[in-house]
Subunit: 472 residues, 2 copies
């Protein structure tokens, strides 16, 4: 993992680990607060002076400060500078529950922000407890005894059969149960695929210009390089794949680019599949929120175009709840066996009763009903977001709204950092598009990624107000 | 929670907690030794006089002394009485840690045999569906909304608190919730520990002469060497650890050697802890079936001897069901954070509702009731096995029967392979001890490892007959 420690001096001594400077600085600052080396109330150097000391861009430091304010580690007030938050220190003993750690956040458990519009988490208050419990009861009652033992590494056959039916119907995925492997979330699935690709001799897996840093980290942790594909107003330039020498796969959010929000246009969908066919490469399709599309029929999965060249990843983390740790892969012939073998001789990871409950939930139609209800709910939130932004900041363009649980609000060039700082001052946790930009990609966009599914109903209007308050 | 503390006087001041006198006395004595109130070498009152002081039956005290001798806390010698064992005090800081394996299945999924006496799986037909469902319902009803989100990588606080209480009470484990990390089974935990140890610069993790090859594989997969410790009729020769250069940890099944079945004798329990203290190494204690002991009270966990030098691994795979994928580690200070970090920024692996259900199951007493019922059931099977072997093959020695879910049947030298072939012809799946022998260990034993928990009731008698048919 990230063992390339470097030491930076000056009056604030921090150990930076990892390759990404901002994330590394944030980790080091969190660690300094957590360990007590930076005491509550301590005033930090200005971002300008720390940046000079560390030889970083000032914005990198300012970003890190703003993020840590949003996470509750630091406070920032006009005239008083940035300080370590006064809080009962994050005791390692703290048995209290975490904030919301959407994929990609650092470690630590700071106080929750007043308003949370970070993307990556669905509305947890809407988890269908009664319906899920009903499915769980049915599953537990009907389960054969062997279901309680060590199971098939691909996962329960009941769930794979139910998913094959559902994915074909709802996502246009060409799925046979024996090609499906259940995993404990996308992160688990990507880790497995990374191992298998590396073992096959793949050198690089291309990624999109914008995405979750964690996914890069996982691939690099498997020993793979992660060159970034260029991006333009029509999305990821998949036609450039052919020029990437040594690239054996590409990780894509084709149906709904994360986080920028567009659907890959048809010619570029064709281009990525053509590349895979011509080169023998694989497309890793991260269909994280394919169920939620508002203005027209869902864009079908890329996988349907060529099931032998696309690895399809789906998850219950957005459609139901991340806490269930349920996800699935649909794999080309041959690869299914390799991924199952990478999981182990038996299923060491996923609870069999949970898998059976999810199978029952799918088969009974409860999943369809839940997705339908949530689609209406999220669409209403999206419409309220669009209306509020139009009323308070008519110049602000809202994009990526046809689908998913988040939108992107474009900001005037060069204002993203200041806007994030202003948000942090208001106790609003929200992310900037540049937090998702791969390190090698030049900065050309400014904007906010607004996760409108995250707040509970009781906090939604105030979160919206806080958001509008920081827009131009 | 065992909070009903009572104070008993006399020349030995002890605080007794819990309801069961013997267990309470043992806890109090362990605590007095651990805290230093009873110094090494101190001679304890005779069991007769302590019993009189405490108003207990003498046997209760004598039993507690004997157990603590077995666990390595005390020593007893003719003429010198019972004394606190001489050993350096537990240092609070922990440098490196090892991994554990979940004794269980081997690899591969062949067609189901007619009779299955492979070890590693509990009686799946006895899974307490009704009680588990009750706990799941309570958990799902009471869960806060945030429980459905991305959670703390250490696992749910409710479960860690319930486990801390249970492990202290039932296994003599010194457990604080913040030192517990939930994982998806022993294999997951061992994998995490392997990564952390390797990152700490550990080169080798010693293993026992006999054990699961999978556990070796996991450690070697993390880049660690796995030298095997010698074994004799008294068990693993832990006194030889000091001679292993570069060994940073040792993986042990101290309470019930897997698969040979003995409990590590007191002097060797002391030796492994002494080695860990002197060398800064770690003991990885795989307590896979500690709940099941038949002829006397369970041998307490090694971890209680020095919580800063022992990583304790427990699992629900033998006590409840492997299909739940629930296990836990109790870690020394410092290591808990490293293991949590190796798990990720959030809990990517274990279902939150399952963890909450298990917490409710523990708290309601359902777990204790289930373990008690299963202990009776397995003991009955064990007795039937012993009786059947005695009747059909009086020369065959049965060992490892004081605890656990399997026994070892000694075979005449050189006959193991032929016996396994004969078993296969009869459709009987059973393992030979040499299938568990580390590659570098010379073959000196012949025997069968018989998992008597595995068959359903309906298949038990015929499996027993098939087994007797292949014995000399």
């Amino acid at each position: 993992m990230a063992n390339d420690w470097a030491t930076f001096g000056a009056d604030l001594h921090l150990e930076l680990r990892g390759t990404r400077l901002r994330a590394g600085l944030m980790d080091a600052l969190r660690e300094a607060v957590r360990s007590g080396r930076l005491e509550a109330g301590t005033r930090l150097p200005s971002s300008r002076s720390l940046a000079a000391d560390l030889g970083m861009a000032r914005n990198t430091v300012a970003d890190a400060y703003a993020e840590l304010v949003a996470e509750g580690w630091l406070t920032a007030r006009q005239g008083s500078g940035t300080r370590v938050a006064r809080r009962t220190a994050p005791r390692p003993a703290a048995p209290s529950a975490p904030v919301l750690p959407p994929p990609g956040t650092g470690r630590g458990r700071p106080a929750a922000p007043a308003h949370n519009l970070r993307s990556g988490t669905p509305d947890l208050a809407s988890f269908p407890r009664t319906e899920w419990l009903k499915a769980y009861r049915r599953a537990l009652t009907d389960a054969p005894n062997e279901a309680f033992g060590y199971g098939d590494p691909r996962g329960r056959p009941e769930l794979r059969a139910a998913l094959a039916e559902y994915l074909a119907r709802a996502r246009g995925v060409h799925a046979r149960p024996e090609r499906i492997v259940i995993c404990a979330g996308f992160v688990h699935g990507l880790t497995l695929i990374g191992q298998v690709l590396r073992a096959r001799g793949v050198r690089d897996v291309a990624v999109e210009s914008y995405g979750l840093g964690l996914h890069d980290d996982l691939l690099r942790g498997a020993g793979l390089g992660t060159p970034a594909l260029a991006f333009d107003e029509r999305g990821t330039r998949t036609e450039e794949l052919a020029a990437l020498d040594g690239c054996g796969a590409v990780l894509m959010t084709a149906a709904h680019q994360y986080p920028l929000g567009g659907a890959l246009p048809p010619d570029r969908r064709a281009a990525v599949v053509d590349w895979a066919r011509a080169s023998g490469g694989l497309v890793l399709e991260d269909d994280y929120d394919g169920e939620f599309r508002y203005d027209r029929q869902p864009v079908g999965a890329l996988q349907g175009l060529d099931p032998e060249r696309v690895v399809y990843f789906g998850t219950a983390s957005k459609s139901l709840a991340p806490g269930l740790r349920l996800a699935w892969m649909v794999l080309p012939a041959g690869l299914a066996e390799e991924v199952a073998a990478a999981k182990g001789a038996v299923d060491w990871s996923s609870s069999a009763p949970d898998q059976l409950a999810f199978a029952a939930f799918l088969r009974s139609g409860a999943y369809d009903r839940h997705v339908r209800a949530m689609r209406l709910r999220y669409r209403r939130r999206r419409d309220q977001l669009v209306a509020a932004v139009a009323a308070h900041s008519p110049e602000t363009r809202v994009s990526g709204i046809a689908a998913g649980l988040h939108a992107v609000l474009a900001l005037p060039p060069g204002t993203e950092q200041a806007t994030l700082r202003a948000a942090a001052w208001r106790g609003l946790a929200v992310q900037g598009v540049n937090q998702f930009r791969r390190p090698t990609v030049p900065a050309t966009l400014d904007g906010l990624v607004v996760g409108y599914a995250t707040p509970p109903d009781s906090g939604w209007q105030s979160a919206l107000q806080a958001l509008c308050g920081v827009l131009p």
